[in-house]
Symmetry: C2
Subunit: 878 residues, 2 copies
């Protein structure tokens, strides 16, 4: 039997996400539950895959099936596609397996042409409505399907309004709309070189194609890369009979959340617009009314929505995001999905739902996206400064958190400022659109003049955990001159402003920020996570402040303390340089002796903070040339400080240069060439441990040797450590228990881990470097390469940012197995960027690691991700 | 039961090499065969291991066992150690599992002291002999055991001779010797601060310790690194009762080979000295007589040697190298071992022995060390030039082959000239010693003033396959002023000379050399190798000349044709630079179109030479900055040539710089950024194939994509290749069959090989780069690191030179398995340095590769190594 590519809504159900996409499966499920869904059918994700496999063609077989289902739809609705007497009009919408808001494209009112529009006018007795639908359709089709710039249509509309001296769209007469349709059609002809397609079947096929194609547009690819969605999934297409919220004052359209998506409050929340089509709400062009108002306007519909919301939330065991349209007083449900929410709301909803008996703790834990917690941990404004500050204006509190930054008016300028000049950026826009996503991602906050709480800017910012103020009516933006006007105050590009996404307030100054305080629900929720997870979470911290912060966030130790960061401080760098440029072992030891007390002090501070928890100290790692001056000016100054001649120092610096520093003299290779460095570091660790233990604290030092690739290396350095530690302990007459382990950050360490384990108490996988050597790709040089790779769709994400489970992961998994076989109780962990990445954490759980280590602010994220990993792995094993 | 650490010669046998070392096992075997071997015992290699494991101490247990066996030896010989009345004297010699000539140390006459020497004098009625033995012992013990410079003793001897006005050692009277002994003892006391040890037991233990310690001396470590001998093997110690070749004129000592080690002629060959100790022959201080002469001097002993030689050769199925001593007319055998021989001799002996029915073809193939073949393939002097040239003198033809080079007088200067200035070097010495080994290894040839065919210089040079002329009596060397005198002609450091190791002739000019012609035996022998081996041998060749040479040497195709080498030629580099610096795709295509005909011509030449054999062409690989000028001067010239400003070009060059070029924009990454490069190269391959096929030749192109790490990369580039090839073939109306494959040279390619195999007809392992990324160690930066690693005994060899089977090999083996599982008929091969290394070839055989590829001159070596690998793998499987 040949494959089925099309399903009526009444043929599917909510479990068929993979085949029907999220939207299609939910429409089918609502239909199954007897809810008022306009009938339609879904073209499957497999049809999308087939489209790409066939060189971007919809096969004859699939075309045939689509038109068979169109006939079924005609017979169900009693209307006929393209028949002016009783026309069936369609909406065509994408729907991937995972929700991708604003990424994919929608076409409404499809099936209209010059004849059908007149028929529709007669049938509805509303020619104005029919013409308005037609001009909207032409514009949407031209933009979305044919790629004609939307601005051309906006200009034509504005021209008309200026000529006719009118302000609002709804003031246009049928004659105005007729002339607008004519203008739109001539724009189409001019741009495409053909007449606008009058054949509804052609319209439909092109629209379906456009949805399929949009799966590979730049924005969609970028969103998937950010959200880890494989491009092989493809998108489904939902073809649904149209209902109209803009047929008159007994019509309307809106969106609703079953709970408040900002706070989590358990109360229906949403917005609607009377006499409008759905796009008007989402695009934020008119500011909508609160859903509560609907109870007054059309109470039957409101009550029905309340009922449906309850049913769907209970049925789907999660907060729902609904879209509805009311056509002549009758309610239609156009969509339901699990609603996006702020981290704060997500946690409150999860805790509430467990308390209400709506789900288990495990289910609740899976409802919160770990990376979202980020926003809870981000700074708020410092209260005193905030009290003293006066807000210039107030918009909608669209996504919580506070940010201060320099104003930029488009995504490109914002990116330039953030990436090249490392500036904090506030992106200021009239309204945002999918083109802005990258710019939003690199900004600290987003401020828009238009759009509600469900506008593009608000939805996307909440998803990203970025603070956002939307619908700021006092704001006018002059894009051309890059100036913002707040009433009579002006803000130029690069000026500082501050915005508070939790209050909606805007300040024309740079307000200081402080750390977040976490709610009681947060504590409850994280406690559930801690009860369930088996993976320990440590932090990467190089100083007492970070250590304290991480411990506050629940870190169970330090997994990576980089000792070299301590040497870059102004006071220390000179001694470090003397050590590096020493001409003899004696000179080197003299310089190291200067560094010893500083290093010891660092360790003491960290040991104090981590009382009772393990602290993994990585010995000196980077190539020595990183510590020496490079420019002639800096060399001259340093030479003077060090009592060397310019030439002498310049030659010494030159001598340290390497062809490939990443593959050069660094890591344990330094300790092998200069054992006295490892001796000094061991002394500092053991002496610090003795000092801090005298203060009544419990110290658990773990010494980690970097860049090991052979057991003989670890044996050699461990011998230095053990010998030195013994000497120090004998000198002080004290015993300190410590461990010695190795980083696994080059492929050979993973391959030889069974042999190396003879000398290692633990292994920590340095997945950043391991990825670079496994790929033969240096992060420093990856820029142009990756750009070309994304462009050619060879890579979908940066392997140095997101763990490559297929390749690097294969090596890690094998290594974990070999290590445990050789030494069953050896401790295995991960440090580096990937240690705080939820998807990677799940992988590390299955690989059998005991801990991950990440930056302090990622610790709560890792704790939740570890709990989710445990739940998912357990579920998979059942 | 505790381990046995000591064996009498009568307790062991020839199969116990691992435990007793080669020398010990052979002495035991000769004893077992009833041959006249002075009795002794062997302290095992396990005792050596125990010595190092115990922190360089001989355990009490082992000491006790040694003295137990000493007692047994006393009772067998009827002599007593340290008893002046009837003293047992001992030789103490090292003996590792593999022969390490000149590397380890020997002590003779051990057991002498002031009392015993007088007893020995009385007993032998030859006080002069006894004193001579004593002074030799003191010197040897001081030098070998205590590390006192030998020169101090030589000076004392020379002083005495000057004072006494005598020329030769044997002219010294007993009184002279007595005073010499006194001087030697005072040197000892001055250097060590203690009296020379009179206690024979202490002498013995210190000597054993010295042998164990010598296992780790720099020369031994270097020799092992060169010959792939693991340091974990350890050495055994042979303690043997002394016999004396220097008791008078019915005494003598010598060495003999059962066949001629230079030519392979089946006739006893050797040298002896009457009234001498063994060291006199080996050190080459006196020039010895031919073994044939012995028939006249002591015919009984001569006949007995002939008989023993035959027996041992048949018994050991190989040519033997014998040491013997005649004491008062009675023959003693001191050693037998498989003899070192020239490649020419090795092949003749192997072929002869098969013809004589002494061994099978397989056994014969195992008798020749593949790397030795090198010397057969090296240049000889051009005959016309040779005929016109006049030799200035003639020495002994110690190791065949011819060489011209600049004269240097010590190993350091030689190394400096060879490695830093890339000069061809002839090392000229009075005689060589183990300190010279490294200098010999980097020289083209060795010339010595003293020493016979079995001198250190001769033996080592033959082992290395270096040409060598020894015992050149007309040569006088002034080491201080670095001048050589050939009669009245002088040669200064850096002057050219030419030497012929097959004739012994020396020329004071630079003679041109030509390729070797290979003997009929060679052809027979290599044919046997080809019959047996299953691993195919290809060559790395970038031009028709190399391809032709390799085919002559038996290459079965080209495994690696590096296309970039072609672009460095003066005529082409400009077009290449235009391509690299092109500002647009159009400019780049214009430059590539200039390169196309040149590249096509290259391929045509190679295809012609390789008619009928596969040619693997690797697409452009190195980072582009390798092709652009770097110094300011060169940039200025190039800028002028290219019509650019200096600043513009300098900036462009700067832009190409990378932090880690090894991990940067190279390999297939170039083809992905600039598909037009791969298009041009494909065009060149296919058009060349069409052209050459028209000439009636059979062309088998294989296109190899470098630096692949992901299947999507190969898919992308293969698509370019296939599309372009199709266009060219359609244009010419011809079909060319070609393959597309990937290099496996970064770890991820190995890890993902099963997935990549979907798009690959073949894989070629680039083990050089694979080693660098697997180790995270760049060959360019490894210098100081490796020096420190050798010094600290962390690495024993350079992993970028010798395949690391444990780590990189593990990855390769797994990858081969995965590749075959995913695609059973995929072709697997190796290109790069390791492809010509015999030890690595054995590994590649077991890993399941189908071919190796190496430089043309390594092809015969690889063929033999492949045959040996097959024989050994088959044997191991039985």
């Amino acid at each position: 039997m040949s494959k089925k590519f099309v399903y009526l809504f009444s043929e599917g159900n909510g479990t068929m996400r993979e085949l029907l996409g999220g939207k299609g499966a939910n429409l089918a499920e609502m239909t199954r539950l007897g809810m008022p869904v306009p009938m339609g059918f879904t073209i499957t994700t497999e049809a999308c895959t087939d489209y790409y496999d066939s060189g971007k063609k919809i096969s004859d077989e699939i075309q045939k099936e689509i038109f068979q289902y169109l006939e079924k739809l005609e017979s169900i609705t009693g209307k006929e596609f393209g028949n002016p007497e009783n026309p069936l009009l369609l909406s065509v919408r994408s729907g991937a397996r995972a929700s991708m808001p604003g990424m994919m494209d929608t076409i409404l009112n499809l099936g209209l042409n010059d004849e059908v529009v007149e028929g529709l006018g007669k049938l509805t007795n509303n020619r104005r409505f029919a013409l308005d639908a037609y001009r909207r359709f032409i514009q949407m089709f031209s933009d979305v399907v044919m790629g004609i710039p939307k601005s051309l249509f906006d200009e034509a509309l504005e021209n008309l309004k200026t000529v006719r001296g009118i302000e609002y769209d709804h003031e246009m007469s049928p004659a105005d709309l007729e002339s607008l349709v004519a203008s739109y059609k001539s724009i189409y002809k001019k741009e495409i070189g053909e007449d606008f397609p009058a054949d509804p079947s052609k319209q439909l096929l092109n629209a379906v194609k456009a949805v399929f194609s949009s799966w590979m547009n730049t924005r969609a690819v970028y969103y998937r890369r950010m959200n880890d969605i494989p491009s092989s999934w493809g998108t489904a297409v939902n073809v649904q009979s149209m209902v109209f919220g803009n047929m008159g004052n007994d019509c309307g359209t809106g969106v609703a959340f079953t709970r408040n998506p900002s706070t989590g409050e358990n109360k229906l929340y949403g917005e609607f617009l009377m006499n409008a089509q759905g796009e008007d709400v989402v695009a934020g062009i008119r500011t909508p009314q609160s859903i509560d108002e609907l109870a007054k306007v059309i109470p039957e519909a409101y009550n029905q929505i309340i009922q449906i919301a309850k049913t769907l939330e209970k049925h789907n065991q999660d907060m729902q995001d609904l879209e509805f349209t009311i056509e002549k007083g009758k309610l239609y449900m156009l969509q339901t999905r699990n609603g996006k929410r702020t981290a704060q709301a997500a946690i409150k909803i999860a805790v509430d739902m467990v308390n209400q008996g709506l789900c288990t703790k495990e289910e609740a834990l899976l409802k919160v996206e770990p990376s979202q917690l980020d926003s809870l941990l981000h700074p708020q404004f410092e209260p005193t400064a905030l009290a003293a500050a006066t807000a210039i204006t107030k918009g909608l509190p669209a996504s919580p958190g506070a940010a201060a930054g320099r104003v930029y008016f488009n995504a490109e300028d914002a990116r330039e400022a953030a990436t090249k000049r490392n500036e904090p950026v506030i992106l200021v826009r009239v309204e945002t659109s999918p083109e802005d996503i990258e710019g939003m991602a690199i900004s600290k906050g987003i401020l828009t003049a238009r759009g509600g709480m469900t506008s593009h800017a608000a939805v996307v910012a909440r998803g990203m955990g970025r603070c956002c103020v939307s619908g700021c009516h006092d704001l006018r933006v002059d894009m051309d001159n890059k100036i913002a006007y707040f009433n009579n105050r002006t803000v130029k590009e690069g000026d500082f402003i501050s915005i508070d996404g939790s209050t909606g307030k805007v300040y024309l100054e740079k307000l200081p920020t402080i750390e977040a305080t976490l709610s009681g629900d947060f504590a409850t929720f994280m406690q559930w996570a801690d009860e369930i997870r088996t993976l320990s979470v440590r932090t990467n911290a190089d100083n007492p402040k970070d250590a304290r912060q991480a411990r506050l966030f629940g870190a169970e130790g330090i997994g990576l303390c980089r000792t070299e960061h301590m040497f870059f401080e102004a006071k220390r760098i000179l001694a470090m340089r003397q050590m590096i440029l020493a001409k003899s072992k004696t000179d080197r030891v003299i310089a190291l002796n200067k560094l010893l007390p500083m290093q010891q002090e660092d360790f003491e501070g960290i040991f104090r903070e981590m009382d009772g928890l393990p602290v993994t100290i990585r010995f000196l790692d980077p190539p020595l040339h990183e510590f020496v001056p490079h420019g002639d000016d800096e060399i001259a100054v340093t030479a003077y400080e060090m009592g060397m001649s310019f030439t002498e120092l310049k030659n010494a610096v030159k001598h340290l240069e390497e062809a490939n520093p990443m593959l050069g003299h660094r890591g344990c290779r330094l300790a092998i060439s200069y054992p006295e460095i490892a001796q000094m570091q061991t002394k500092a660790v053991i002496q610090a441990a003795i000092t801090v233990r005298h203060e009544g604290k419990n110290v658990v030092p773990e010494i980690m040797i970097p860049l090991v690739c052979d057991s003989a290396e670890l044996k050699f350095v461990k011998n230095i450590v053990d010998t030195t530690a013994k000497q120090v302990m004998e000198q002080y007459g004290e015993e300190i228990e410590y461990k010695v382990g190795a980083m696994v950050e080059i492929p050979r360490a993973a391959l030889m881990i069974d042999v190396i384990s003879k000398y290692a108490d633990f292994f920590s996988f340095g997945t950043n470097d391991l990825t670079q050597t496994t790929y033969g790709l240096s992060r420093d040089d990856a820029g142009q390469i990756l750009d070309d790779y994304y462009k050619n769709r060879i890579f979908e994400s940066d392997p140095t940012a997101k763990l490559d489970q297929a390749g690097v992961g294969k090596l890690i998994k094998m290594a974990c197995g070999w290590a445990k076989e050789a030494k069953p109780h050896v401790k295995l962990g991960v440090c580096g960027e990937h240690g705080g990445d939820p998807a990677s954490i799940q992988f590390f759980q299955t690989a059998g690691m005991q801990y991950v280590s990440c930056s302090p602010f990622r610790v709560p994220i890792a704790r939740l991700a570890a709990a989710q990993a445990k739940i998912r792995v357990d579920a998979a094993e059942k």
